[in-house]
């Protein structure tokens, strides 16, 4: 196989893997920020495919599209994070399952999965050391002026 076609083939498969993994994350995670990160990862997979085609066809069009993908992803991130901040201010959590009322009507009831409690962090017992070394000799008039009258 021609090395250029082999390179295109490899890049398209890596782009497909990034896109698919982003899809898995977007469909399954419940944290709003992680869902958005996975959407951004899907955009990166598409950018990779566009750059591969741009090199293969010797045309700058694919790279131009990637520039605009980056610009639009920045806008989308700004507005999405503003909205997420607003939502978090209302309920205090980043969970997307809190907003169940936005679903369609004929869906089954959502049941919170019973998750075993994780052991909370116990405060570590820090080792205590005896005081060692010399204390400095300070003359009394040097410390007297610090006392407020």
């Amino acid at each position: 196989m021609n090395p250029e076609i082999a390179l295109l083939h490899n890049y398209l498969i890596v782009g497909a893997v990034l896109f698919g993994l982003g899809a898995v994350g977007f469909l399954s995670r419940r944290n709003m920020i992680v869902m958005f990160l996975c959407a951004e990862m899907m955009l990166q997979g598409v950018s990779l495919s566009l750059v591969a085609f741009s090199r293969f066809h010797n045309d700058f069009g694919g790279q131009m599209l990637v520039v605009f993908i980056i610009a639009v992803a920045a806008c989308e991130a700004a507005i999405a994070l503003a909205l997420v901040l607003m939502l978090v201010r209302r309920v205090g959590k980043l969970d997307v399952a809190v907003w169940q009322s936005l679903r369609e009507d004929n869906q089954p009831e959502f049941e919170e999965e019973k998750v075993p409690e994780e052991p909370s962090e116990k405060p570590e017992a820090w080792p205590s050391l005896a005081r060692a070394g010399l204390t400095a000799e300070v003359s009394p008039e040097k410390t007297d002026y610090r006392r407020k009258p």
């Binding site: 196989m1 021609n2 090395p3 250029e4 076609i5 082999a6 083939h9 398209l12 498969i13 497909a16 893997v17 990034l18 896109f19 698919g20 993994l21 982003g22 899809a23 898995v24 994350g25 469909l27 399954s28 419940r30 944290n31 920020i33 992680v34 958005f36 990160l37 996975c38 951004e40 990862m41 950018s47 990779l48 750059v51 591969a52 741009s54 293969f56 010797n58 700058f60 790279q63 131009m64 990637v66 980056i70 610009a71 639009v72 920045a74 806008c75 991130a77 700004a78 507005i79 901040l85 607003m86 978090v88 201010r89 959590k93 980043l94 969970d95 997307v96 919170e112 998750v115 994780e118």
Partner: protein, 244 residues
């Protein structure tokens, strides 16, 4: 030789079960079995990317090695982004995935895009994500971080989609490969050139194309950025009077 369809199918099966095991499933430890299964899936997939007949010189070996390192970093970081519980770790692994993607852009000759990805995506968008995460203080111990919606169905859907796309690409390009004829032939891509995407003055040609042919789109994108900035500020500012 085992048919490549069977290798892709095996990779999809192993990857689907591995992703299901690795996704947060409420405290059940899926790491001991999930990581080897994902490694098997990625290894089977990588075996389809390696072309042994094109390897004449050490330069080709080094080039293929660099590509596999970059692609490996990108894909492993992507798996970590999707499956870790603590959302801050997810963001950091996503940053590593962005660096891998920038390296792949550089490997393909898109120098400006490589630097733009690192500066804009990893340097601005990811940092904004981290700011919002810091405002919400997640530590990955909440219920919604340790469980996921329908882990098996979503893992199967995503990995089967990867398999379908990969098999289609492999089929189409193997067919074309036998007929030859890339638009950038290997001989042209190797040496120094003066025009086209792989030119020596790549950024100059990139800028000429961007501000020549796509000037109106650039202006519209600038306006879009301004509107998004104002919109984000207005959205966040509107909640403040309610709290007072």
């Amino acid at each position: 030789m085992i048919d490549s369809q069977w290798i892709f199918t095996l990779a999809v099966l192993s990857g689907a079960v591995g992703m299901w095991l690795l996704l947060p499933r409420g405290g059940r430890g899926g790491w001991p079995l999930g990581v080897p299964l994902m490694a098997i899936a990625l290894g089977l997939g990588a075996s389809q990317l390696l072309r042994l007949e094109g390897m004449e010189s050490p330069q080709r070996w080094v080039a293929e090695g660099v590509f596999f390192m970059l692609a490996g970093v990108t894909v492993v970081s992507a798996v970590a982004t999707v499956t870790l519980r603590n959302p801050i770790y997810c963001a950091i692994w996503f940053g590593l995935s962005l660096l891998g993607t920038a390296g792949l852009f550089l490997f393909a000759g898109a120098q400006f895009l490589a630097v733009a990805t690192v500066v804009v995506y990893a340097g601005a968008i990811l940092v904004t994500f981290l700011f919002v995460l810091m405002l919400a203080h997640p530590r990955g111990r909440a219920v919604y971080d340790r469980s996921s919606w329908e882990a098996l169905v979503s893992a199967a859907t995503g990995v089967v989609m990867i398999g379908i796309l990969s098999m289609t690409v492999a089929d189409v390009l193997t067919l074309h490969g036998e007929q030859g004829g890339a638009l950038v032939t290997a001989a042209e891509a190797a040496g120094p050139r003066s025009d086209g995407v792989l030119a020596d003055a790549h950024v100059a040609h990139f800028g000429a194309e961007l501000f020549g042919r796509h000037l109106i789109a650039v202006e519209v994108a600038g306006t879009l950025l301004l509107v998004a900035l104002v919109g984000a500020a207005v959205i966040v500012a509107q909640t403040k009077p309610e709290q007072q």
